[in-house]
Point group: C2
Chain length 420, copies 2
């Protein structure tokens, strides 16, 4: 099998000074994987001629397809287009369809005057195939050099994605007959990476060479991913399934899901299956749990809403947390979350509810209740279950981890109620 490799070059000083997190590369890699192309290498360089040229020279040694994002904007710091023109030995010409499109965009959508800079965005090297960009003013460009292809796209995520889906991925699917790459993923909770590795050691050692196992710990859960390569897709899928089933059986007691889903989607699926609904009452997470639940397409089937009671006043007024509880036990207490969960479930008329109250930091901790203390309650028809955590992280990660813990605690209650 002739494996096809890709490299990703991201261009822009903003990536090197850390002002922007590169989410494009992960998306591109996922999409390429689906078509059987492996990303061999990823490199980020600044808006600097010498560095860009070195990256172009080097990546074509490693890969068949070189995808370039960024540096195509209309401003002076965007030097990629003239540089590519020079690199592939062409001259700049006007691409009329792009110009027509930009003119229309400014007239009908932006409703503001078009500038010469925008006009210049319609100029392209005559050595490239233009990939029309219907999502912005910078066209994509494809260059060929021997057996290699180079594709330059804007760094704006939704423009890049549109160009990939409309032009690049179809081109690759048509022109590169490569083997197949398939993944199967399961997620565990409640067991550390090392203990998990011990538990599945015998299985891991017997995994055939065309399948690879990876451990991906995140927020206290470990994702196990099997990746297989093969010429015959059906054979590959069978091989993968066999290994996957072995893995699954040996981690059964810790299994969260055998799909590559985020936790909020797992919870959503369970609720949908049971034709049940959920609401949240959030203090320290400020609406994050509700936002995660509602991020899943189709969430309106099971998510009704939330009361975010960031202040004690709101806990009392909207969720009936008495001043007695607040004075005696405090806002971060089992009593408080029980009341929050019970009341929001009643008020929003849902089958389940989740409530959280905690201290996320950097301030607000005490000796008794240090930063990271979090109470969680899940209410259902006949009971309220609670749990408490002591998180060791910073504010952002404490919030994320609290949301994950709350969703996982909700998931467990749903599963238990189903089985019980």
């Amino acid at each position: 099998m002739n494996k096809i490799f890709a490299s990703i070059i991201t261009i822009g000083d903003e990536l090197l000074i850390g002002q922007v997190v590169d989410t494009n590369s992960a998306w591109i890699a996922q999409e390429l994987n689906k078509t059987g192309i492996s990303v061999k290498h990823r490199v980020a360089v600044g808006d600097n001629k010498e560095d860009i040229i070195r990256a172009l020279n080097e990546e074509q040694q490693l890969a068949d397809i070189i995808l370039i994002t960024g540096g195509l904007g209309p401003t002076a710091d965007d030097i990629t287009k003239p540089l590519l023109c020079e690199y592939f030995g062409g001259k700049m010409i006007l691409h009329q369809p792009t110009l027509d499109f930009i003119i229309e965009l400014f007239e009908k959508k932006f409703r503001r005057p078009m500038t010469d800079r925008n006009r210049k965005q319609a100029e392209v090297p005559d050595t490239c195939t233009v990939l029309m960009n219907e999502r912005g003013t910078a066209p994509g460009m494809m260059f060929k050099k021997g057996e290699k292809i180079f594709v330059a796209m804007p760094g704006v995520p939704h423009e890049m994605k549109w160009l990939m889906q409309t032009h690049v991925l179809p081109y690759i699917a048509e022109n590169y007959h490569s083997g197949f790459v398939e993944h199967k993923t399961l997620i565990t909770a409640g067991i550390g990476e090392s203990s998990l590795a011990d538990k599945i050691q015998d299985i891991e050692e017997m995994i055939p060479v065309h399948i690879k196992l990876a451990y991906l710990p995140n927020f206290g859960m470990v994702r196990l991913r099997l990746t297989g390569y093969g010429k015959d897709r059906n054979v590959l899928l069978e091989d993968l399934q066999l290994q996957f089933d072995l893995l699954k059986d040996s981690v059964a007691e810790f299994l969260v899901t055998e799909e590559d889903l985020v936790l909020e989607a797992v919870v959503g699926k369970l609720l949908k299956e049971g034709n049940q609904t959920v609401s949240t009452a959030e203090s320290c997470t400020g609406g994050l749990i509700a936002h995660l639940i509602s991020s899943v397409p189709g969430a309106s089937a099971y998510f009704k809403g939330s009361i975010v009671s960031y202040s004690n006043e709101v806990k009392t007024d909207l969720l009936g947390v008495s001043s007695e509880i607040l004075n005696n036990s405090g806002a971060v207490s089992e009593e408080t979350v029980i009341q929050m969960a019970t009341e929001v479930r009643k008020k929003l008329n849902t089958d389940y509810s989740v409530a959280v109250s905690g201290i996320m930091g950097p301030d607000g901790g005490t000796v008794d209740k240090p930063v990271g203390t979090v109470w969680i309650a899940v209410a259902s028809k006949n009971k309220v279950q609670t749990n408490v955590f002591n998180l060791p992280f910073d504010r952002q990660r404490n919030m994320q981890q609290t949301a994950i813990n709350a969703l996982n605690f909700l998931r467990k209650q749903i599963v238990d109620n189903k089985c019980g």
Copy 2:
């Protein structure tokens, strides 16, 4: 001035198949920048011996400091440590302080049995300086080769950050006397990148060579960043301020903030200054606006809470949106968001409130109200202002953009009320 350069090598198949977004690199780059070190290059490679060695060979040609993250876990796919041992020509030895720490960690914190794999994590190449990791089981390692240093750290973000802050950044500050790098950033809204570039062209052309201007468009706003390099920090800061003031004056009408703050922090600052409070009523964003507002440390001074009315039932029961409004105008309408904003402001007793209702996709659109239609209302003491948007993106980005638009609309109202 002898400029010091760093390279970042991230190791792990999960980065190349796109299962994980690399947020570490952005954080590392920001921190290095503060100490005057520029990141020259960033590269991601898989858990593959040949690729890692090539990256080590190449990056030391480009940089003085090579920071490596990932591949240090206890499982079989983590090959970085033995590879570094071989690369720097040493042998593995036990690092007793690390072992003691791991034993304590399992006894006191994890409360689960320690395995041989965890014990093995205390083994390090005898050619490295161990960087004690008090946040996890994998120690950091520093290797020297001639004038270059190589630092290997785990890829888990909070462990990596702790190692950087405790060991690596202090070491760099002490051992590399480099020049200074300073940034000044302002954020504009309501003007496109090209028009902005035209507007400031005269200023841009006069910017001295030791200062660089970058345009960073994001969610409909453009961030302008000046980066200066210099030996004398005071002179550099003066030079930067001069250019910054020129820029600021010429974009005054579009200026959101002259600090490098996220929008929710800008809003928070305004509210705090005015000793005012805010609440939100969210339909389509499902709590995201509330979560963003509460993500800012100290938000409890001005954020009281939120009612997330994802279902119409909750809009009616908790926010008093009448069935008449829902039937005649619909859940996504000006009437609905006016009622939501008015009611949540009253119920939560805040100075301001923001309400949003929209169709985020992929489903739910109609001919009259296609996916992307969003109504926003901001209520204050004497008035309710509304705005409508038609967003062209996918569900996730529509949600993000709606939150940003709502926060920016709130910001404008606060500023207008102040000035009026």
